[in-house]
Symmetry: D2
């Protein structure tokens, strides 16, 4: 049985790791770390766990944790994981970081977009970007995994095969994304109050959202060259779910546009055997409700001959495939377990 | 492996049975019956099941079904199950009826409240009212189980121990209940359109909702006498969940009101060993989000010395403990399985 | 033109006063007071007012305000108005207090329920409880009006005629109420975050909500005797609206229950000429969406012969008739204007 | 006083015309036409109008209507207005058609996208496209106005000045739009039930939504050439509001990208004097809640030097500026009234 510690267990992503691991036969949480609720019962914060999780919250003590568990999930704000990590820690315990600290390979990019100094730049190189479907080989031997962002997971996976296969011009890529409010975290901010969010939608982080360089870096690897793109997130009044609608100009071959069959073949090539990626039927587009609570990525697309573009659409549950679920998927890979263990959760709808 | 047929599988309760049984190790659905979608893939209606359930919808053919399955769930409007049932059917297959057809023991009450003729009154006597925590012994040997209504499950279980122990005057009982919109079904009605329900609450069925006689009959058994009460349901803009807030005057003993400890002791007496009933701590009251997707009933209470009343509050997921979950719980009991099999679902929140 | 100052203008009730007064031909806001946003443009907080209100927020300076305006609305937490009021202030300016400071006539009750010391008990006697439809004569000559609470406005008006006429036994009165989330204010609290409130309902303040003594005091005047009752508020996922469902045992006359006609006659007697109270037709019950944004109180009822009770139901917009609208209505009365001036707002639905 | 008839008064757009005209000093509705509710009180369908509108619904009788009113609004499905219109009608009464029947100048485009035969093609030429801010001169003398679609109003106005001024390459234009559910109408369809829409977002009509040719035609006039673009609508769980996020590549002048100042100047040139278009400050982006219930169009933008694109964002209330409000604005222009009469509605938030 793998012993698990969660730093930041009382945030939405941390609590979702707890929920998922309750259904995992080979792992159990033994440390619910928290900054604000030390000594309180975990189930007094998340009443859904009443009579299911009896533990009290402990502090976010990485040193001690490293001695007691096999793997630590850090579900905390940017900067914390980088400030806690060192050779001693990584010698004792595997770390899966749900923050952005080790996602970008270029530390100057990190410091530019996040506006904080990176406290452990020497581990950036070693850290593996844990987008499981793309990087699972590297994840298998990693000590430190940078769990991808929610928007990025959805945005990258939705476009990856078409970029990789050269079917679209990566410089034309535009990503318009919608997110439920759990993506904003559980901090007490006026902007996230019910009455500020309900019955409205808004764009934010226009042309400067921090997930932009992460998407660009990863899709750049697929394209084989640097790229810049537009990414615009919007806040939508619902608890969970990310939908990415992505636009790109198709690359003609021999003067002809790729067909819907060509596009489908590319998706099938990369995702045909993936359990968690569901390529929808023609004419069917993803809806976030259909992945709710699950680790699925639902992907649909439409070739528009009129404009020569393809519209790619992907949906995930931001707390599962966009955070906790993918983190557990990474854990499974790192420990040599069946990658889907504990994660074959059936989406609940409505 | 128990073979299961669902009549009305494309309604919300039917689909929820399908969802729950995907996690049941000893039962599998082999017949997804539908009136409106015969021949269509089940997952084309509920996209959450895409690549999980491959079956197409079959018709609502009870005769044929009885030859092919071990148990039939009828998740259909009132009147249908009664019109389909007969000795031949019940000789071949167990039936768990999620409609109201066999819930009331007095056929004239049924016909008065439901305003339809009962087509199989001879089976009313035999049918067991499947409120598992109260009637599990009778359910164990039943051929035909009347699965309780959603409001009734919540309302009865919240008050039962106090009525049974004589701690409250049953003639003073007032039940004020709130329901999410799945309770209204999946029929295409203007009243249930998003924009008619959203951003509003309303009472309905005031003093004449059909769940009233069901609550009265069952609590009457507990009280040892007939009783009438007020039950007022309200529609609330959320998908799932029922909350019942119940008021009753406490019965003095030796001139003294029962204390909170007395009340708690009564709940503990009946529910202390129940897996699915969670008696909340003092000062904690149920919230529907904490039971979402699960078979739990969360119960809290408050003794008000000022008024001499107790306020009892219960919460369930109307589609699970209020319909599909309890139906599966009944199935487990009928087939001699662990009662909680497939039902230890952790509530998801948010 | 009446000059208006608002202390607490950036809260939901304060901003609603601003919205309403934009449509008032005889009053204009000249002071948008705020604790947190001094110096910021009011429309930078409430973007709906962009290019409509150009003012910047000023501080909550009662002294200076009293010299500059004709009437001050205090839309602030309990305790502030009482701490600011004095003879000098009241000599210069009329004050309409939206907090609870001057609602209860018994200062010990205030201090017991609110758990703070009252800083200006000498003004409690003078203050007029501004429930316009009941107290408009007294309001007309008041210097200091205690604007009623949101739950209380709805709860009292819904039951008042039946209590006053002795049609119901006031000791049996039970009030079960639902509120949208604006009622919880605009403070940055985890409990009011979108994802904590959405898709759930919960009771709170069970048997100890602070609006209880206010309802009891006012209905006690109507009953001609002290009374205690149960009041249970619930939080519902919507922005605006309060619905009160109230239960009471009917008082027989000559051995007969009052009929629906008797009940209607009582409502008509008190509200027949009231512009803002709409007595619904038989069989029609209030829905909060139908009063949204308006100063209306919609009232319906049902006589239940089975139980001998009447169920009374009322709906208001908590920010309008439950706060800002009634405050403006009080202002109109105090300044001798048509009581409905600026308040004939048509509810918007959906 | 202008006498108004509404055909389709019981749909959401029709009822919104009724709401707006209650605040219009020079117009009154004398005919509430309906297909489904003839003979019923209008306020029995929209309870918000109880004691405000006393009229009963009449039938959708254009012939008779033309004799009784000065202007007819047709708020009906495509095809109906075209089937009712003729020289006799237009000789007696002005017609403002909220359907798409007269929006497209090319009848073959209409029949291709709408898949119905046009019944009155001879009036297409005469009909004026009622986008007031662009076409008010033509509207002033029109007998027949084609009131623009909701998505189109928002999409066109958001991009118009930049297209007109040649600041963006129109062939790169991509419009990603979000709509509240009132946009789907009040028809009883499963897809629009509360539980099908709530807690989810979905794209629809991808690359074939009917508002596409309307946007292309109008922006084509601005560009001075034909253009094709991508338009993707999404359904969002809220009652009202449309947000359009639009992307286009900036056109360099003398090797330099236009600056934010250049963009702002273009918007100011066209909208500087427009009452209903609010150009937001730098760094502020539109949120649908801030235009709710009003006739405003809020527009913001961001120049992204990294990608050489501009992101334009616009928000409207789909039922007001996107339907009923603009229809009334057109009426005002047609009758020589102040264009804003009855339309200076302050947005309500929250």
């Amino acid at each position: 049985m793998i012993k698990v510690g969660i730093i930041g267990a009382t945030g939405y992503a941390g609590a979702e790791i707890a929920r998922i691991l309750l259904g995992h036969p080979e792992a159990e949480v033994v440390w619910y770390g928290s900054k604000s609720y030390v000594g309180e019962e975990f189930s007094s914060i998340y009443g859904n766990f009443f009579k299911i999780i009896d533990d009290k919250c402990l502090d976010d003590n990485m040193e001690e944790l490293a001695n007691e568990v096999d793997v630590v999930f850090t579900a905390t704000p940017q900067g914390l994981c980088a400030s806690l990590i060192n050779e001693d820690i990584l010698g004792k315990v595997k770390v899966i970081d749900l923050s952005a600290d080790f996602r970008l390979k270029d530390v100057t990019e990190y410091e530019k977009w996040y506006k904080i100094e990176h406290k452990a730049p020497s581990y950036i190189e070693e850290a593996v970007y844990g987008l499981c479907e793309i990087n699972r080989d590297k994840v298998a031997s990693a000590r430190l995994v940078a769990n991808p962002g929610c928007y990025t997971t959805c945005s990258i996976l939705t476009a990856y095969p078409l970029v990789k296969e050269g079917l679209i011009d990566p410089d034309t890529l535009i990503i318009d994304a919608l997110s439920g409010v759990t993506g904003a975290g559980r901090g007490a901010k006026v902007a996230n109050l019910y009455c500020e969010v309900n019955e409205s939608v808004k764009p934010y982080g226009v042309a400067n959202h921090r997930h932009t360089p992460e998407i660009e870096e990863q899709l750049g690897y697929a394209a084989g060259k640097k790229l810049v793109l537009n990414f615009t997130p919007h806040l939508v009044p619902m608890n969970r779910g990310i939908l990415a609608t992505e636009y790109a100009t198709l690359v003609k071959k021999d003067g002809k546009l790729p067909t819907a069959q060509d596009i489908r073949a590319a998706y099938e090539k990369y995702y045909g055997n993936e359990i968690f990626i569901r390529l929808l039927k023609d004419g069917v587009y993803p809806e976030t409700r259909f992945v709710q609570g699950s680790n699925f990525v639902d992907i649909g697309f439409k070739v528009d001959e009129r404009t020569g573009r393809v519209i790619m659409m992907g949906a995930i549950d931001n707390l599962v495939k966009g955070a906790a679920g993918q983190a557990v998927q990474n854990m499974n890979i790192m420990f040599g377990l069946d990658e889907t263990m504990g994660l074959r959760i059936v989406p609940k709808c409505p």
